[in-house]
Symmetry: C2
Subunit: 309 residues, 2 copies
């Protein structure tokens, strides 16, 4: 019998231009899950948070993630999962990913670490598959497990590249109290895009990765710009363009939609700026008649980890 508590951080997928291929890790915000492994064969999930989650474990993202790991492990065990802390679902900062990531991370530890962290990404992706209707994504589970910026070069086979983030990357995230389902956010996207627009986007993707490598926060800021997806999704976010102007004027280096939204985030190179920008975003949504949760934190190089009691 072995019990492990793990934390897995919230994440910002897409990072502006890197739609579907990139995500980054937030510091201090995330899910806490404990996993107990016993003799037997089964899976129980208990939700001890105030967040409402489906009672049916077949609808919980943790289930397919845990089952994928146990199948690869090849021996039967009774696995008891307790969700102790949970980011609000639909927040756009990788809520489901943090749950799957924390669960597989804790389970792997409880089993004596049979799998490398990169392999855990594949298991956690099974949870993402459940909510995305079959398409596996790793742009949230990747950074939640591995930390830093995680790049998915390709999915067939899965090619994960981890890039460290410079120390001074600060993030302000606003989660406005609006419901935008991932499905809705996907359906609004065009099937085809102009080649000219695609070239602009991959110029920015290249600039973003180069900026991270060269630790050039200004280059990262210039490159964190989405000409493909944002034009279609910003309609869901009240006063999007006006808010961008306000946060850039306050010193933020970039302003984008986090994941499929409705959360938005800014990048800054200074915690004071990040804090001020957080206030501006909160005021903005209040003026629009929308409440919001604000997170101001560093971008972290540390992903999922064991919590000692």
């Amino acid at each position: 019998m072995s019990k492990v508590r793990a934390f897995a951080p919230a994440t910002v997928a897409n990072m502006g231009c890197g739609f579907d291929i990139m995500g980054m890790t937030l510091d201090g915000v995330g899910d806490v899950v404990s996993v107990e492994v016993k003799e037997g064969d089964g899976l129980r999930i208990e939700n001890r948070t105030e967040v409402e989650l489906p009672d049916d474990i077949e609808k919980n993202v943790i289930t397919p993630a845990v089952r994928a790991l146990m199948e690869a492990f090849g021996e039967k065990r009774q696995v008891d999962v307790t969700i102790e802390r949970k980011i609000s679902p639909g927040s756009g900062i990788g809520s489901s990913a943090a749950s799957s990531a924390a669960a597989v991370y804790a389970l792997n530890e409880a089993l004596g670490r049979p799998f490398a962290d990169e392999r855990l990404v594949e298991f956690a992706m099974e949870g993402e598959k459940l909510i995305s209707g079959g398409t596996p994504h790793a742009d949230n589970v990747g950074p939640s497990l591995l930390g830093g910026v995680v790049l998915l070069r390709g999915y067939e086979p899965l090619d994960i590249v981890r890039l460290p983030v410079p120390d001074n990357f600060c993030c302000s995230v606003a989660h406005p109290a609006i419901m935008v389902s991932t499905r809705m956010a996907r359906e609004v996207l065009p099937k085809d895009i102009p080649l000219r627009t695609a070239v602009k986007q991959w110029g920015n993707v290249a600039g973003l990765v180069a900026g991270l490598s060269l630790k050039d926060v200004n280059l990262v800021g210039r490159a964190m710009c989405d000409v493909v997806v944002e034009p279609y999704r910003k309609q869901f976010i009240p006063g999007f363009d006006a808010l961008r102007e306000k946060v850039l004027a306050a010193g933020a280096l970039a302003f984008n939609i986090s994941g499929a939204g409705p959360s938005v985030f800014t990048l800054s190179s200074d915690m004071d700026v990040a804090a001020r920008v957080g206030e501006i975003m909160c005021e903005h949504f209040a003026t629009e008649g929308v409440g919001s949760d604000i997170y101001v934190c560093k971008v972290s190089n540390v992903g999922a980890r064991v919590l000692n009691d």
Copy 2:
């Protein structure tokens, strides 16, 4: 009166996935141009090579590049340009770019270096504008002037990022004796592409830049893969798919079209492999009834430079 001889290297634009935003510098292949600056006001261009070039200087790429520099310089001079060595035009390894780059580099030196190298890229781009029918590109002039891999994050304003290349990057280029005009190579491209395909491409672009930064030649090889442009342009190159199979079997890490073609190139991490691959490419085109020029060289971190007599 001041006279300077300069060399500017050949370059491989696009590098597979980086269509229109990236190029790399070859070692040892390139153009040699000398520039003499005297009192007066005018431009003369003399071609001392065996390559046929237009007699009308208005049709020579060097002319708009030199004029752009002189206009920014703001004083009048008589500029006499002599082309001493020239890569074949239409080779797909940045022939026109090497001429413009060598000319502006030599001219800047002859004037006492009034401009930084990055500024020279803007002048040399005027030459590219002449041959592309108005669209300025820097994916050949950039690396030819600056060396290494040059990334064009954006054009408005021009945002140039230089990335150093690891020492062991070797390139084999084959220039088959086929005429493919840049115009023809452009016209065959679709105006729109599927968003799914674009995402794959920018995943590879991100992987390519990450691989360069992490000095991971295998990642660079995996990422140097073009799912957008190659499907339309490979028809111009006899036996393209069969040749790819042969060079990859011989140890090359990637095989792609150089620039708009018809040249093709491979990346290897070893000069012996690069040499063997060069032979395979030469044999391949011979079997197809097409002669070819083969270049086997390192990828270089050095761009345009002064040649001492």
